[in-house]
C-alpha cells in the first residue's frame, strides 16, 4: 500500500497527541509516562506519529518536498510502535503502517540516508546486516556438535539471526540457547554459514524488495531442509518471519517460535528443569518485536462504510492490531519460575513498553539517540529497584550494554536465555 492509501488516516489524525505518551489508562508513575522516544528527544511535533501524519499529508498536497529535515524526521524513529498502541486506544487509524510506507516511498524515490545505504550494501553483498563476511556466519556455533541442516535433517531449525551470528560478545547467549534445546533432547540443527538475514531490518528501513527476496530464500530453506519448526532467539527475526512474511503473502508454512515460547514449552513438559537458585532482583524489558509488533498480521480486504448516518465502520469488520496480541506472559512465566529470583515490573510494560533504542535503523544512523533511548530504560529499571534488566532480544541486550558503558551503571544486562541457563 502506498502512502496515498493512508490519506484517510492523515485527515483523521486529530492532533490529540496521545501518541506521545503511553495510553493514559496505563499511567502509573508520572516520571515514566512518555511513550515516544523520538518526540521526547527532539520535541517538535513532527517527530511524533501525529506529526508524521501531518507531514505526509503536507507532502501529498505538494506543500513540502524531500529535504534533510524530512528524512531526519522519518528516520529518527525507532519504528517501535508505542505510538501505534496509544493512538489505537482512541482511534481506528494506522500510524505505524503509514510510517512504514513513508520509508518505503523514500527508498523508492532514492531518498536514503548514507548510514542505511551502507548497511543495505553490506546486506546485498554478504546477506547480513553487519556487512561481515558470509563465510563467517556459522562461527558462533563452533564446537557445539549440532546438526548442519545443509547436509542433515532435523525437525527444528535454530535461526541465530545476524546480530547473534556476528557480535562475539553475544555468542555465549546464542550458544546457551542452542545448548538448552539440545540438552532437552530437541531434534535441532542450524544452517551455519548458509543461514542468512531475514530481511526484517531492511524492511523497517524502507527496503521492501529485500524483505521479498529473503522471504523467498527462507521459503527455499524450509523446503530443502524439511524442518517443521523455526526457533529463533532474535525477536526481530521472529517478528519478521511470523508477521511480515505473512503481511507480504509469503508465509513460510511452518511453525515460527521465539525461543522463549519454545523454552516455556520444554519447561512445561518437564524437559527443562529450573532447579538452581538465581538470587537476583530482575525486571523484564519487553522487546518491541516480541511484544506489540509480534501481534499476528490481520489480512483485511474490504471497504469503509457508514451506519447510523455517519458512524464509520468496515465491511467486513476490520480487526485492528492494537498491540494486545504480542508475546508478553510467556517470558514472565519463565522468569517467575526461576527459583530464588525476585521479579519486579517496570512502569511501562507489555504493549506499552519503552523501546531499547535498537529499532528502526536508529542504532546504525544516530547512535547517540539510540543510546539516549536505552539510558531512559535503564533509568526505569533502576527506579523499580532492579539489579538486572532481562530481555529476550540481542538488540536490546546490546543497546543496554552500550548504555551502561556510558553511564557506568552496574545494573546487569541479561537475556532470558542466560537466566534459564543459570537455573538448570
Amino acid at each position: 500500500m502506498a502512502i496515498e492509501a493512508y490519506k484517510h488516516d492523515m485527515l483523521r489524525c486529530t492532533r490529540c497527541s496521545y501518541c506521545k505518551w503511553i495510553p493514559w489508562e496505563n499511567f502509573r508513575n508520572t516520571d515514566f509516562i512518555k511513550g515516544c522516544p523520538s518526540v521526547s528527544r527532539y520535541h517538535w511535533h513532527a517527530y511524533s506519529a501525529g506529526g508524521k501524519f501531518n507531514m505526509a499529508l503536507s507532502f501529498l498536497e505538494g506543500r513540502i518536498g524531500y529535504s534533510d529535515s524530512f528524512l531526519d524526521v522519518v528516520y529518527k524513529c525507532h519504528m517501535d510502535g508505542s505510538c501505534d498502541v496509544s493512538c489505537k486506544s482512541v482511534q481506528d487509524i494506522e500510524p505505524l503502517q503509514l510510517m512504514q510506507e513513508l520509508r518505503i516511498k523514500c527508498v523508492e524515490d532514492g531518498q536514503v540516508i548514507p548510514a542505511h545505504a551502507a548497511v543495505i550494501d553490506g546486506l546485498r553483498k554478504e546477506d547480513n546486516m553487519l556487512g561481515k563476511p558470509r563465510s563467517e556466519r556459522g562461527k558462533w556455533a563452533e564446537g557445539l556438535a549440532v546438526k548442519d541442516l545443509t547436509r542433515e535433517k532435523a525437525k527444528v531449525l535454530y535461526h541465530a539471526g545476524c546480530q547473534y551470528s556476528y557480535d562475539e560478545e553475544l555468542w555465549p547467549v546464542v550458544r546457551d540457547g542452542l545448548t538448552l534445546l539440545k540438552d532437552a533432547g530437541v531434534d535441532v540443527g542450524i544452517m551455519g554459514h548458509a543461514e542468512m538475514c531475514c530481511g526484517g531490518r531492511a524492511y523497517e528501513l524502507g527496503y521492501k524488495d529485500d524483505l521479498d527476496k529473503y522471504a523467498a530464500r527462507h521459503a527455499n530453506i524450509v523446503k530443502a531442509s524439511g524442518v517443521e519448526t523455526i526457533v529463533t532467539p532474535c525477536a526481530h527475526c521472529y517478528q519478521t518471519m511470523k508477521v511480515n512474511y505473512d503481511k507480504i503473502g509469503k508465509k513460510l508454512g511452518v511453525e515460527i517460535l521465539h525461543i522463549t515460547e519454545y523454552l516455556d514449552r520444554l519447561i512445561k513438559e518437564g524437559r527443562i528443569k529450573l532447579n538452581k537458585k538465581v538470587p537476583l532482583k530482575v525486571t523484564y524489558h519487553d522487546p518491541c518485536h516480541l511484544g506489540r509488533l509480534a501481534e499476528p498480521w490481520v489480512h483485511w480486504d474490504g471497504k469503509e462504510t457508514k451506519v447510523l448516518g455517519q458512524m464509520i465502520v468496515h465491511d467486513p469488520p476490520k480487526k485492528f492490531r492494537r498491540g494486545a496480541g504480542g508475546v508478553y506472559d510467556i517470558p514472565r512465566d519463565i522468569i517467575r519460575n526461576i527459583p530464588g529470583l525476585s521479579f519486579v515490573e517496570m512502569y511501562r510494560i507489555r504493549a506499552c513498553g519503552w523501546c531499547c533504542g535498537g529499532g528502526g535503523g536508529v542504532k546504525e544512523a544516530y547512535p547517540d539517540f539510540a543510546i539516549w533511548t536505552a539510558r531512559e530504560r535503564i533509568r526505569e529499571a533502576r527506579a523499580v529497584g532492579a539489579d538486572a534488566i532481562v530481555s529476550a532480544c540481542p538488540s536490546c541486550k546490546q543497546m543496554f550494554q552500550e548504555a551502561i558503558k556510558e553511564t557506568g551503571d552496574d545494573v546487569k544486562v541479561l537475556d532470558i536465555i542466560e537466566l534459564v541457563q543459570q537455573s538448570v
Partner: protein, 532 residues
C-alpha cells in the same frame, strides 16, 4: 509571510538554534488539527512563520519582548489540541510550543494547592495529587488537557465541577508574561507569600486574565499557575485490568466511592434531579454526558457497532436522559447518608437504575471516565472523525438551560434525522458548577464527518442557524461554541453579536489594547483591538 533574517536571528538568540525552526516540514505539523476542515475549508490553517520551544519564563519573556520590538505576532499553547491553539491570523505569527515547561513545581498538601508549568497535563497532576489524598478537577477534553490551558487560558468545564470547582475558579495565582513582555504575578504570589490566594495580597486580575471563555493565547503567556486541589477518597493508584488500552478500566469502583448511571424518563426530570442533588451537596460528580447504549465504546467502531446491534432495540431508540452520579465519602456513615439522600431524589424524579447500565463493569468504567475523562476523545473523534456543539450555556440558571436545550434539540433534530450528524446516546454534556451555586455548563453535542460532503454541508447549515443573530438562539446570549472552535476572522462572533449584548466588545477590545499596545498577542481566537 516569513520573518526577516535579523528578526529570526534575534529570536534564535533567545532560545538557541536547537529550539527554533522555520523549516516548512516542521511548521506544517503546527497547523493541522481537528476542526480545521470545518473552519478553514481544509486540514491546514495558516502556517506559522516559526515555532519556538522556550524552556523558562525568562526565555518566554525575551521572546515576547523581541516580538514587541519587531511587531511579530505570537501564539503560545500547551498540548495544542484545539483550533484555538493553532489558529492564527497571520502567517507572520510565531508559535510558542511550551512542551519543555513541564514541571509540577509544588504540591502544598496542607493548603491544598499545586503550582505547575504549562505543559503539565491534568492527569499528571491528578496522579501526583492522589499520592497525598488530593484531587484536581478533570476537564471533559480528556486527561491530556493542560492544567494551565484549561484553568487560565481557555474554557474549563468537566465532570467533577460540582465538587472540585469550576475550573476557572480554581486558579489561585499565576505568573504571567504580558503581551508587552513584562512579567507579573497575580494573587498572593505577587507579595511573595505563597501561591494560596487569587485575590491577594497582591493584584487579583483573574477576570481580566481569562474572562469567562479564556483569551486563548491573545493575552500573553501564563508560565506558572497555582490551582486548588480537593479531597480524594480513593487509593493513590487504582487497580486496573485489560490488555487493550481502549478496554482497560478500573477493576471496581473504589471503596469510598459509588457510581450510578440513572435514567430519567424525560430530560426535564434529569435537570430537576441534578439541581436537587446539587443543593443537597452530596455528589462528588454529577453530570450528563453522551453515554453510549450499554455503556460500551468498544475497542473500535466495528466492535462497538456489533455490540449495539445485539442490544435490546429499545435502548437504542429511546436512551432516556442519563445522569452519571458519583458519590464519595470519608466514612461509612457519611456514605450511608449520601446514598440515602441520592436515592430519595432519584426516586422522586422517576430515575431508574437500568441493570445493563449499572453492572459493575459499566460502573467502574464510568467511574474512570468521570474522574479522569478517559474515553472522551475515543467517543467524540473515533466514531465519525469530529464533533461540534451547539451554542452552550454556561454558569447560568437551570430554567435558562432547559429552554436552550429545547431549542438546540429542535434545531439539531432534522440534521440528525437526515443523517448528516450523529449522536450515540443522549446528546448532552451538562455539568453543575459547585453544586449549582454558580450555575452549570450545558452543551448539546453532535458528531459529524468533515470529510463527507453531506455531513459537512449539514453541519455548516446547522452552525449557520446557531450563529444567526436573528435566529432562534438570539435570546440565549453570545453563542459560545465551547470557545473551542471559534475563530474570530471566520465566525465574527464578537463583531456580530456584541451589538445585541451591550456592546461588550468595547470593553474586551479596550482590555486587549491596554495589555497589548503593539497588538502582538495573536487575536485570532480572541479579539483584535480594532476589528479589521
Amino acid at each position: 509571510m516569513s520573518l526577516a533574517e535579523h528578526e529570526y536571528r534575534a529570536l534564535e538568540e533567545v532560545v538557541g538554534a536547537e529550539y527554533i525552526t522555520r523549516d516548512p516540514v516542521i511548521l506544517d505539523t503546527y497547523n493541522q488539527v481537528w476542526g480545521n476542515k470545518l473552519v478553514f475549508g481544509e486540514k491546514f490553517s495558516p502556517r506559522p512563520a516559526a515555532v519556538l520551544l522556550p524552556g523558562s519564563t525568562e526565555e518566554a519573556q525575551a521572546i515576547v519582548k523581541t516580538c514587541n520590538r519587531y511587531g511579530i505576532p505570537f501564539k503560545p499553547f500547551s498540548s495544542g489540541f484545539e483550533i484555538t491553539a493553532l489558529g492564527i491570523v497571520s502567517e507572520r505569527t510565531i508559535m510558542l510550543d511550551l512542551k519543555r515547561m513541564d514541571r509540577i513545581l509544588e504540591i502544598d498538601v496542607k493548603n491544598m494547592h499545586a503550582v505547575v508549568e504549562p505543559y503539565v497535563s491534568v492527569h499528571k497532576l491528578q496522579l501526583e495529587a492522589a499520592k497525598y489524598g488530593l484531587y484536581y478537577g478533570v476537564v471533559a477534553a480528556g486527561p491530556s488537557a493542560g492544567v494551565i490551558a484549561s484553568a487560565c487560558c481557555h474554557a474549563g468545564s468537566g465532570q467533577t465541577n460540582c465538587s472540585a470547582g469550576a475550573i476557572e475558579r480554581n486558579v489561585l495565582g499565576v505568573e504571567w508574561v504580558l503581551p508587552t513582555g513584562d512579567v507579573i504575578k497575580l494573587g498572593s504570589a505577587a507579595s511573595g507569600d505563597g501561591w494560596f490566594s487569587a485575590e491577594g495580597p497582591g493584584i487579583g486580575l483573574r477576570g481580566v486574565l481569562r474572562g469567562h471563555c479564556g483569551a486563548n493565547g491573545g493575552h500573553g503567556i501564563v508560565t506558572k499557575a497555582s490551582v486548588k486541589l480537593y479531597p480524594w477518597y480513593g487509593p493513590a493508584e487504582l487497580e486496573r485490568a485489560g490488555e487493550i488500552p481502549a478496554l482497560r478500566a478500573a477493576t471496581e469502583v473504589p471503596y469510598n466511592f459509588r457510581t450510578f448511571i440513572v435514567t430519567f424518563p424525560i430530560q426535564d426530570n434529569a435537570f430537576d434531579a441534578m439541581v436537587e442533588i446539587g443543593k443537597a451537596e452530596i455528589a462528588y460528580s454529577c453530570y450528563q454526558i453522551p453515554v453510549p447504549p450499554g455503556g460500551y465504546l468498544g475497542e473500535g467502531n466495528d466492535e462497538m457497532w456489533a455490540f449495539m446491534q445485539q442490544l435490546d432495540p429499545k435502548m437504542m431508540e429511546s436512551p432516556g436522559a442519563m445522569v452519571v452520579v458519583v458519590l464519595g465519602a470519608n466514612s461509612d456513615r457519611e456514605m450511608e447518608y449520601r446514598e440515602k439522600y441520592f436515592h430519595m431524589i432519584r426516586e422522586k424524579y422517576g430515575g431508574l437504575l437500568i441493570p445493563e447500565m449499572n453492572n459493575p463493569a459499566v460502573q467502574a468504567g464510568l467511574f474512570d471516565a468521570s474522574m479522569f475523562s478517559y474515553g472522551s476523545v475515543r467517543h467524540v473523534f473515533r466514531l465519525t472523525t469530529d464533533f461540534f456543539i451547539n451554542p452552550c450555556g454556561d454558569a447560568t440558571t437551570t430554567d435558562f438551560l432547559k429552554n436552550l436545550h429545547k431549542v438546540a434539540r429542535e434545531t439539531m433534530e432534522p440534521y440528525w434525522e437526515n443523517g448528516s450528524i450523529l449522536q450515540v446516546g443522549s446528546a448532552i454534556f451538562h455539568s453543575m458548577y459547585e453544586n449549582y451555586s454558580v450555575g452549570a455548563h450545558h452543551e448539546d453535542m453532535y458528531l459529524y464527518d468533515p470529510f463527507d460532503a453531506e455531513s459537512l454541508e449539514g453541519t455548516n447549515e446547522l452552525i449557520g442557524k446557531t450563529m444567526d443573530t436573528n435566529g432562534k438562539f438570539r435570546r440565549f446570549g453570545v453563542p459560545c461554541l465551547g470557545a473551542g472552535l471559534q475563530f474570530e476572522p471566520v465566525h465574527h462572533t464578537h463583531q456580530n453579536w456584541s451589538p445585541l449584548y451591550d456592546n461588550y466588545d468595547v470593553w474586551l477590545r479596550k482590555i486587549k489594547a491596554a495589555l497589548d499596545p503593539n497588538n502582538v498577542g495573536d487575536w485570532g481566537c480572541y479579539v483584535p483591538p480594532v476589528f479589521p
